[in-house]
């Protein structure tokens, strides 16, 4: 059975309480400095969900904060960086100090693992990763990270098989959703369509809730239908300080500020978490604390100039 047709609109607090649990594998939306699921990540940090395995393609700011807050046991991903803002420093330090299991794949490999999950398949073939040390890694938990197969239609040709990745719950920030749970992603969709459809449950935060009538008048626009979605959280600016296409640009100042404390770590970082996350009851509180209406307006105008 798919997800029910209604009753999905809730707060971030309610959604995370009911769908994220200690030890869960969490699918992470967004890529680098675009559409990271910040509001939902903050809520997970506030609720202190532990021993998480984070999966995605480019694990960026949201991951870094969850690692920095000490909630993460493992990441399975393609990259951990914020492009020109540098590495995901908390993630990097945790990896270097052996406090974090990092299971490396290529981006296509991760997308292929989600594709398998989204189609109900146990694995997906790929021709990536051959000849690289990405095929020289051990398993963290006894589950083979890949398998080699001789192509039955061309003996002698090796093909890599990758196990399906089926997150317990995915967190994704999108432009629009309706109360049924239909999801509209505008612009790039990166690995999200496959990841969402591969997940056992899905929390979506959105810039705007639109009417189901509007969805039904433009079915071409729907990225993922409601049958995959459990919770819809209305959260304007929910990707801040990363960008949301057609809504606002990333906030380079705040990103640089975060990267500075993340790089130094220690007390400065603890203070950041305390002030900007633990000390805020909601994401709206966070926005009020770390930025201003003027700055947000600027980011919105800056995006609109680029459409």
């Amino acid at each position: 059975m798919g997800k029910p047709i209604g009753g999905k609109i809730m707060t971030a607090k309610e959604a995370v309480e009911s769908l994220v649990f200690d030890g869960a594998t969490v699918g992470m939306g967004g890529q680098s400095i675009g559409r990271c699921s910040m509001a939902l990540a903050h809520e997970i940090v506030r609720q202190g969900k532990k021993d998480l395995t984070l999966v995605g393609c480019n694990l960026a700011l949201s991951t870094d904060i969850m690692v920095g807050a000490g909630l993460v046991k493992r990441t399975e991903c393609g990259t951990g960086n914020l492009e020109r803002f540098g590495t995901a420093f908390r993630w990097r330090e945790a990896a270097e100090q052996g406090r974090l299991e990092v299971d490396d794949y290529s981006h296509l490999a991760m997308a292929s693992r989600f594709l398998a999950g989204s189609l109900g398949l146990p694995f997906m073939p790929t021709k990536s990763m051959l000849g690289s040390d990405l095929l020289n890694k051990k398993s963290f938990d006894g589950v083979k990270p890949f398998e080699m197969l001789d192509n039955p239609w061309n003996p002698g040709e090796p093909v890599v098989l990758l196990p399906a990745c089926t997150p317990d719950v995915s967190i994704v920030h999108v432009q629009k959703a309706d109360e049924m749970g239909n999801v509209i992603i505008e612009g790039f969709t990166t690995h999200e369509p496959e990841m969402i459809k591969a997940s056992k449950s899905v929390i979506v935060s959105c810039e705007e809730i639109v009417s189901s009538d509007e969805v039904r008048r433009n079915p071409d626009r729907t990225t993922v239908p409601y049958i995959f979605v459990d919770a819809v959280v209305e959260q304007p600016w929910g990707a801040y300080p990363t960008s949301t296409y057609r809504y606002y640009e990333h906030d380079a100042d705040h990103l640089s500020r975060y990267q500075a404390v993340a790089r130094s770590g220690g007390e400065a970082y603890e203070e950041y978490l305390q002030e900007s996350i633990y000390g805020c009851e909601t994401f709206a509180d966070h926005l009020e604390k770390v930025t201003s209406t003027e700055r947000l307006d600027e980011l919105r105008r800056s995006m609109h100039r680029l459409l």
Binding site: G78, K127, M129, D133, G187, L306
Partner: protein
């Protein structure tokens, strides 16, 4: 003679490897600048494909991220990472792809994962991203990098993105798809390209005013040397005008103009 910065030279030289009509998979940084320059100069029908999904955008200068609205501007299609890296790249349609990394070895393997042991790394880098995919499937690989000695070891600590792995048979033995790619490394000292018969990098060109010895001194492996090493043509005045006015007008990436 027109004055130019080394970055400008590298970018223009890299762009010369892109032909009109090519499908180019590109992220941001100097690779983006090089491919955008090709589009605005000699390759007007070049097709950008961005890893996150967009196809053939009319890029607004100067994007700083693969999620930047500037790489989505007037795309012919928005799509997914699977469309881009699976449906275009692995499907065999990508002509050119750019890579970067912390280490590039004599077989043109690239490391962007770790220095030291994988399980307890001395330095942890961001990881493959789409780089391994690009190196596995594109027909031509371009690497633009500063020529620092530590970047050019005999052997990468970790092969994130395969070049010719361990020699001419490396890709074949690994079962990588054919055709095996051309690979060129464009640095501020030289242009090295893969010699497919040996599976190793060969100095083909030198940047103006650079000697072969300078390249050797700054490279930890012993590169092959082409029978006739030529000098890279400096950018023309017209090329520099396009680069500075149309491609990176704010100097986002090309800061060091002379």
């Amino acid at each position: 003679m027109t004055e130019y910065a080394l970055d400008e030279l590298m970018v223009v030289e890299a762009s010369r490897h892109i032909e009109d009509g090519n499908i180019v998979m590109v992220g941001t940084g100097l690779p983006m600048v090089a491919s955008l320059f090709a589009l605005k100069s000699h390759a007007p029908n070049m097709c950008y494909v961005v890893e996150t999904g967009p196809v053939a955008p009319e890029v607004i200068p100067t994007p700083t991220s693969v999620s930047d609205p500037r790489v989505m501007y007037r795309a012919v299609r928005f799509g997914s990472l699977l469309d881009a890296l699976g449906g275009v790249l692995q499907r065999g349609l990508a002509d050119v792809a750019f890579l970067g990394g912390a280490q590039i070895d004599q077989f043109a393997n690239v490391n962007s994962t770790v220095i030291g042991d994988y399980d307890r790394p001395k330095v942890r880098f961001p990881g493959s991203g789409g780089a391994n995919d690009l190196a596995s499937h594109a027909k031509k690989i371009l690497i633009i990098t500063r020529h620092e000695k530590r970047r050019f070891p005999e052997r990468c600590d970790f092969i994130t993105s395969p070049g010719y792995i361990d020699g001419p048979q490396g890709r074949k033995n690994a079962g990588l798809p054919q055709p095996y790619p051309d690979i060129s490394v464009i640095t501020d000292l030289t242009v090295m390209s893969i010699d497919k018969s040996k599976g190793r990098l060969r100095v083909d060109k030198l940047m103006p005013g650079v000697s072969l010895d300078q390249v050797r001194e700054n490279t930890l492996f012993e590169p092959l040397v082409a029978p006739e090493v030529v000098t890279v043509d400096p950018p023309t005045r017209a090329e520099l005008r396009i680069l500075r006015d149309e491609v990176d007008p704010d100097g986002t990436y090309l800061k060091g103009r002379e």
